[in-house]
């Protein structure tokens, strides 16, 4: 697949620079360009920091700003950031109330964040929330389990709103951990992705096939299937999600259809329509909706469906104002 790029080595840095240039009202680079931070911190507020490999834009940089993250560290493509990036972000963003690190559940991310914590813990109060919203189905359960995927946005938004209200570090961690258990995401891909460094596709699928259960790193999913009509695909995603989480009658939910990079808005809305119908038939009250390209896997054609079961308090936090490059809600 073709890309707008100059060299594989410089593409992440160039893209980041473009992002910061375009969104100077929200963000600036942190020290040494090791991370992207809010233009203005709020003293006394717990600092929320996230990060991960590049290739998932606008996550996380697009979620930096009032109401959401304080800083985001970006690694190379699909490669978690290094501990020094994370340490620098902690040092700059912590205004005294401590730091909450929001980490997607990947061995690489966890190890790099852990090393950073070991380096910074003597000078900062640090807690972590590990997001693992991916469905379990199709895997064995013996392994490390669920990946952190599109549901990360939901966690960052809701903790972000809570942090803005001045809640303390431990309380924010509690909110995040509780919420994480009530979010499920499943993805499907119509194409693999080309890793720019090596001009190689992670996998290729025939025109009549799709890859079910993919994450956001261009990796294969848990099964290759025949390409179906959108309604059938969405039904499968929604059924798998629903089977993987306990939905009580009259549960309130946020339904989120996320594009993986190469799928245009029109198709995402069509998919949302099918997902919404499915959930309402199951008596899930879809109270809030989100449709868009927020958590990508380079230019993968595909999408994920996320269901987040929310309490009334969490819905209020979801509705709180946020002003970032990628998510915007007015007061």
């Amino acid at each position: 697949m073709k890309k707008f790029m100059n060299t594989a080595e410089t593409m992440v840095a160039e893209s980041l620079e473009g992002f910061v240039r375009a969104h100077g009202e929200f963000v600036v680079f942190g020290a040494g360009r090791k991370f992207v931070r809010r233009r203005h911190f709020t003293p006394g507020k717990v600092a929320l920091i996230s990060g991960g490999g590049a290739g998932h834009e606008p996550m996380h940089i697009g979620f930096v700003g009032k109401g959401m993250l304080d800083a985001a560290c970006v690694g190379h493509i699909f490669t978690s950031p290094t501990p020094d990036q994370i340490v620098s972000a902690i040092e700059e963003a912590d205004t005294g109330a401590g730091c909450l690190l929001i980490i997607k559940n990947y061995d690489g991310d966890i190890m790099n964040f852990e090393m950073a914590i070991e380096m910074a813990a003597h000078r900062h109060r640090i807690e972590t929330v590990i997001v693992s919203d991916d469905i379990e189905a199709g895997r064995t359960g013996e392994g490390r389990g669920r990946r952190g995927v599109a549901g990360t946005l939901v966690v960052e938004k809701i903790i972000g709103a809570a942090a803005e209200r001045g809640l303390p570090l431990e309380e924010l961690k509690r909110i995040g951990d509780r919420l994480n258990g009530r979010i499920r995401t499943m993805g499907v891909a119509l194409s693999g992705v080309t890793i720019p460094q090596i001009q190689r596709t992670t996998f290729s699928v025939n025109t009549d096939e799709m890859e079910m259960g993919v994450g956001i790193h261009g990796e294969p999913g848990h099964s290759r299937q025949r390409l179906l009509a959108a309604d059938a695909i969405i039904r499968h995603l929604c059924e798998t999600i629903s089977a993987d989480i306990s939905i009580l009658p009259d549960t309130k939910a946020l339904l989120f259809v996320n594009g993986l990079g190469g799928t245009p808005p029109a198709e995402l809305y069509l998919a949302y329509n099918a997902a919404h119908r499915f959930m309402e038939e199951r008596l899930v009250h879809v109270e809030r909706a989100l449709v868009g390209t927020y958590v990508t896997s380079l230019d993968m054609q595909g999408l994920s469906v996320t269901l987040a079961l929310l309490t009334d308090d969490e819905i209020a936090l979801w509705d709180s104002p946020v002003a970032t490059a990628a998510l915007h809600l007015s007061p």
Binding site: T82, M111, M115, H222
Partner: protein
Amino acid sequence: MQAEPVLVLGLIEACRAVITANTDHLCALDCAIGDGDHGSNMQRGCEAVSAEGAALSKLPLPDAVEKIGMTLVMNVGGAAGPLYGTLLMEIGRELRARDGTDDFPTVLKKAIDAVARRGRSHAGDKTLLDVLYPVQDALAQSSTLIDVARRAELSANLTAAMKAMRGRASYLGDRSIGHVDPGASSCALLTTAICHYFGENHRI
């Protein structure tokens, strides 16, 4: 036996060379069951270490090895960075604590255990540990350099039959079976390159 500065520089170059020659191969292995970046990650680490070669060669061996580990941690990222970084940092620290290289297998054992703790992983999980443990075992049995290298390569190949329990490949479940683990492969390549270097330079 070589002087330490020459040794350090020689090993750095030997490792850099083998990774550079296999970057694409390692990425291809990672494409099959991961995210396709293992070769680039390792190469970035090797380049960063090479760039510090002059400074490193002036340090005592334990300090040099620990510093190499830190450089890997700060430049590689992903899973490979903390894992290889921890390995070398711990080897350096153990070497320093023991004030010499006389019991390298024990040094290595401690370092590998640190890697396993960092990765919360075990032998049989289809990771670079499945090369590190056998290599350590071979060294403990005073195998020849050629046999150590052979054992490393064989062990890497054996990961093909395993189901991944850690790292990105674990998300594939049974679909991970049949593919060699990229981290195991890089580990075998590095082991072989190091053995070859010592062999050529009449050390051990």
